[in-house]
Each structure stands twice: as structure tokens, then as C-alpha cells.
Symmetry: C2
Subunit: 215 residues, 2 copies
């Protein structure tokens, strides 16, 4: 799997157009049903070029896996700061990082989600392993160094952690659903962040201990 150097000589914009067209097509249709014709059409390049840069559909797919894993590591996981011991604050930070990552790389997450389900093409084990490592890292980034004493003592803290996490995912999913058909770059997200922070406050109120000292 070797990518032709000339691909990297393209304008960054053109590279991105090609990558995004491919990610989208694969994410939406899976490896087998994805059409290279659709990809070149959406990318606005001639058919020949796709096979000149990448040698085959399969190589393109493998390249994309690599690309997405790299991007996700650098632009998502490495930006999460695990020094924050307050779980809700941690999740807030993660949400902010995730939002930036998602706006910048709209199809990466969808693609990564779909590549695991792929059964048509046997992906080299190294890729699957790297993906597993990402998942493990995701747990670390979530739970490492969390101060559990903040939580009220009359409920199981691990259950509380889970419930909080699901609550936040739920908000995010609902938001994604609402904004599905809109052009993300024209949206002012401030009110949504405000709403989100409101929910976070509720979570703190109900799951955390009452502070003992004065505030």
C-alpha cells in the first residue's frame, strides 16, 4: 500500500476534497458498495487520477483508515487534558475538543465507525489493533484521575459515572439529529453551548455531594 507522492504535491484543498469525498462514500455505503465513480465525481477529478494516486480501491480504503486513525489521535485524544479531576468538567472539555474535531473533520468519525463493521475486505490486523488501542485510550482519557469524592455517597459512583456519560451523549445525539440537515458553518453554536452547560449544572447538582463549607 504505497500512495503516489504526487498526491501529496496537490494543494491541501484538493487533497482534502478527495479524502472527504472518499470518506463520505465509504462511510455511507461500506467498502463493497462504495463506488469509485461517485468518489471521483464528488471530488471533481478524473477517474484515472484516483487510481494514479492510490493504486486500487483497496489501497485507498487502507490509506483512509490510517489517515483517520492519525487524525483522531492528534486532533482528538492528544488534546484532552486529564488533569481536570472533576468528571463533569472533564466531559465538558471533551465535548469542546470533540466539537472542534468534528467540525474540522466531518466524516472521519463516521468512517471509523463503519470500518470496524466491514466484513467484505479483511483489513490487516494492525489496523484493528490500532483501533482497539484508541478505544482503550478513550477510556483512560475519560476516567483517569477522576476525583470520586465529589460524588454523593448514597449512590454507586460507577453507576453515576455511566449515567452522566449517557446523559451527555444523549444531548449530543439529539443536537446532531436536530442540525442534521443544516449547513454547520452557518450556525451560531453559542446558544447550544449555553444549553449544554445548563444540563451540566443539573448533573452536578444531582450527582455531587452538597458542598460543606461556604461557597
Amino acid at each position: 500500500m504505497e500512495i503516489n507522492q504526487s498526491f501529496y504535491n496537490l494543494d491541501i484543498d484538493k487533497q482534502k476534497r478527495i479524502i472527504e469525498a472518499a470518506l463520505k462514500e465509504f462511510a455511507e455505503n461500506g467498502y463493497e458498495k462504495a463506488s469509485t465513480n461517485q468518489i471521483v465525481k464528488n471530488a471533481g477529478i478524473g477517474k484515472g487520477m484516483l487510481f494514479y494516486y492510490f493504486n486500487s480501491k483497496e489501497d485507498l480504503y487502507l490509506f483512509l483508515i490510517n489517515y483517520c486513525l492519525d487524525i483522531t489521535m492528534v486532533e482528538f485524544f492528544q488534546r484532552i487534558d486529564t488533569n481536570e479531576p472533576d468528571f463533569v468538567e472533564r466531559l465538558k472539555q471533551i465535548a469542546e475538543v470533540k466539537a472542534k474535531y468534528h467540525l474540522k473533520n466531518p466524516y472521519v468519525l463516521n468512517f471509523l465507525g463503519s470500518f470496524i463493521l466491514n466484513e467484505a475486505l479483511e483489513v490487516p490486523k494492525a489496523y484493528r489493533k490500532r483501533y482497539e488501542e484508541l478505544l482503550a485510550l478513550s477510556n483512560l482519557k475519560l476516567y483517569e484521575n477522576i476525583d470520586k469524592t465529589l460524588f454523593r455517597k448514597d449512590v454507586d459512583t460507577d453507576k453515576a459515572l455511566k449515567l452522566i456519560q449517557w446523559s451527555i451523549e444523549g444531548y449530543q445525539n439529539e443536537l446532531i439529529n436536530q442540525l442534521k440537515n443544516q449547513n454547520l458553518s452557518t450556525i451560531n453554536f453559542d446558544p447550544y453551548w449555553a444549553e449544554f452547560y445548563g444540563y451540566l449544572e443539573v448533573l452536578k447538582t444531582v450527582y455531587y455531594q452538597k458542598e460543606e463549607g461556604a461557597k
Copy 2:
């Protein structure tokens, strides 16, 4: 769109096999990329029969929409009892009904979710409208006749309702994810229900007021 009477004369089992094969294929691939060849293969019938019972791919699709809407109304919504004013108990009941419905009709929900996204075939408006009505009904069944005085007063009750709902969806999604590749009919769900009820208790503890009288 008229279905050949002879379809209804089939054993119920065969009818179900055909319907499920079709639901699965459409749900997984969307209208256009779904293959009638795959459907007949999975259903174990000859190609001719599919077009004998239903006249065309399109008619089959419309029949399935109808079928799923009916099933969902009868086997899901009509079984939800809105007399229970305790929100968490209501959700518990819904979860139980939903589980039965899902086990009995594994592909119906997926199919209904995918048919809305369909853009290839313009589905008659009546179908979309019925779907909208289902969604509206779903809100009714969820929130109608809920006793809001159970909730603690230091947080916004509507936010609390949402958060509880998302928590429960989160648990369900995680469970579905875990069990994805297993044969559902061989699973003993009791421990999962126990775990689920454990989470519900936590939700009551944190979101409800402390009871004032003795218990």
C-alpha cells in the same frame, strides 16, 4: 399498490421469512441499493415469487412501510400504559414493552428509521404523515400524566426529564452494542434487567425529592 392475495395464503412463517428478509435488506442498504436478489435468497424463495406477491420493488417497499407502521402501533404504542405517573416507572414499563416488541420484530425499528432518510423514492405523503403521528404519539405516551411533584425542586424539572431519558437510552444502546453479534434467543436477560433496575433506582435517588413521611 395491491398485494397478491396468495401472499396472505402462505404459512405465517413463510410470510414472516419474506418480510424479514426484505426489511433487513432495505434497512441495511436503503431503497436503491437493496437487492431483490438478496431478498429472495435470504427468504429462500424463487425470484418470480417476490414479483408475483408484490408487483415491483417499489410496491414491496411501500407494503413494508405500511406493515411496520401497523406493527409498531399495535405492538408498541398501544401497550404503553399512561396511568403510571412516576416518570421512572413509566420508562421502565416502556422499556419492557419495547424489549418484547423488539425481540418479536427485530428489523421493524431499523427499517422505520431508515425509511425516513430515503430520498431516492418519493414515498407518498400519507406514509410520512403517519410516521410523524407516531412520533407525536410517542411524546404523549412519554410525558402525559407525569407527576412532576416527585422531582426535587432545586433543578429544572424539564431538564431532569430529558436527562433521565437520555440516561436510559444510553443504557439501552450500550446493551444493544454489547449483544450485537449474539443470538438473542439464547440469552437470559434477567441479569440485564436487574442491572437496569439498579440504574433506575439511582435515577430516582438523585432526581426525586427525599420522601418526607416514613417509608
